[in-house]
């Protein structure tokens, strides 16, 4: 079955090109939707969103991703990842609460709203510890704090220069990872592939130039990935893990996951696996729980 699939984007990166070419090769009808062109009414879907079997959200900008998926959901257009997942993953505080609430091991975290209470939180962790923006990516604006004087300086800078999101201080224990961390891309908790990112720098991010090699996904990792995925609402996700003396800890879950680096590191055809999953999602949506669409009309499934 071929589907009519919408691809929401604000920038076409290598990841989106891989996805688009895989979709087109399989004969699916692809509708590219630049979110910058959209004006979303609360009561009626724009024409470009009509008749789409499924939409995949590839917006880079978090606020766009969070809002546009809510509109799609309200219009009854199936979208991956869904608004719940986007909302949780876009915000480190929500992610931490979701992971911890689901019993997924995650680094010890404190959130504070003033520089005084943030400094107290930092002192309670001891040095080094980590200060992160609650919204952010590619390891940007993360600070590893080695001393009280550094803590005071960074907190002062943040309170003086910061956007209001930087008035929420997210303080995390520093995990002594062995120069590397792990990234697993999964669909609804099922791993597609994983990679090890190694760097001499404490931020082991592929976008920041870390070296990548294939990761062998053992049962422990697979179970944690499934649990983390469930905790944030499922979908196409990048789950970041670090190794500690007591096993793995999940420190981040990304909802608009980049897979170019992963695709280059493993034998698995990552875009093909993603499209397999999108096809299955679209088919499940078309079949529906009771063979009817959400507005009660009969479905026409073309094969």
């Amino acid at each position: 079955m071929t589907v009519k699939i919408g691809v929401l984007y604000s920038r076409i990166r290598a990841d989106e090109k891989l996805l688009l070419s895989e979709l087109r090769e399989r004969g699916h009808e692809v509708v590219k939707i630049d979110v910058r062109d959209l004006a979303l009414a609360v009561d009626e879907a724009p024409e470009i969103l009509a008749d789409l079997d499924i939409v995949v959200d590839r917006c880079l900008a978090t606020s766009r991703s969070v809002y546009v998926t809510q509109f799609l959901s309200a219009y009854g257009v199936p979208v991956v990842n869904g608004p719940e997942t986007a909302t949780v993953c876009a915000d480190k505080v929500r992610t931490s609460l979701a992971l911890d609430g689901a019993g997924v091991p995650t680094p010890a975290t404190n959130v504070a709203f003033t520089t005084d209470s943030a400094l107290a939180a930092i002192e309670s962790f001891g040095y080094p510890c980590v200060l992160k923006p609650v919204v952010g990516s590619w390891g940007r604006l993360m600070a590893k704090i080695d001393s009280r004087s550094a803590a005071e300086a960074i907190l002062e800078h943040k309170s003086t220069l910061g956007h209001y999101e930087h008035k929420v201080f997210y303080v995390q224990e520093f995990v002594e990872k062995p120069g590397r961390d792990l990234r697993v891309v999964a669909v609804d908790g099922e791993p597609i592939a994983g990679m090890v990112r190694s760097s001499d720098h404490w931020i082991t991010n592929a976008a920041a130039g870390a070296e990548t090699t294939a990761l062998e996904i053992d049962d422990e990792i697979a179970d944690l990935v499934a649990a983390a995925s469930d905790a944030v609402g499922g979908g196409l996700l990048g789950v970041d893990l670090m190794e500690t003396d007591d096993g793995y800890t999940v420190h981040e879950v990304n909802h608009t996951v980049e897979f170019k680096a992963l695709n280059g590191s493993v034998d698995v055809d990552v875009p093909a696996a993603v499209v397999d999953w999108l096809e299955a999602k679209a088919a499940a949506e078309a079949a529906g729980e009771d063979g009817e669409t959400t507005d009660g009309t009969e479905l026409e499934v073309t094969h």
């Binding site: 604000s10 076409i12 630049d34 880079l60 590619w138």
Partner: protein, 54 residues
Amino acid sequence: MTTCPECGADVTLHDDLEAGEIVDCTTCGVELEVIETAPPVLDRAPELEEDWGE
């Protein structure tokens, strides 16, 4: 081949060009966004805003 809207130099484009893609002008170094593909139309790429990416 098309022209950089910033510096006027020729920009060589690859075949599988995609609207929304970012290409670099090798002459002036500016980031250009592909607005249309057939024929190619380029414009200065928007700056990165707020949180981009993962």
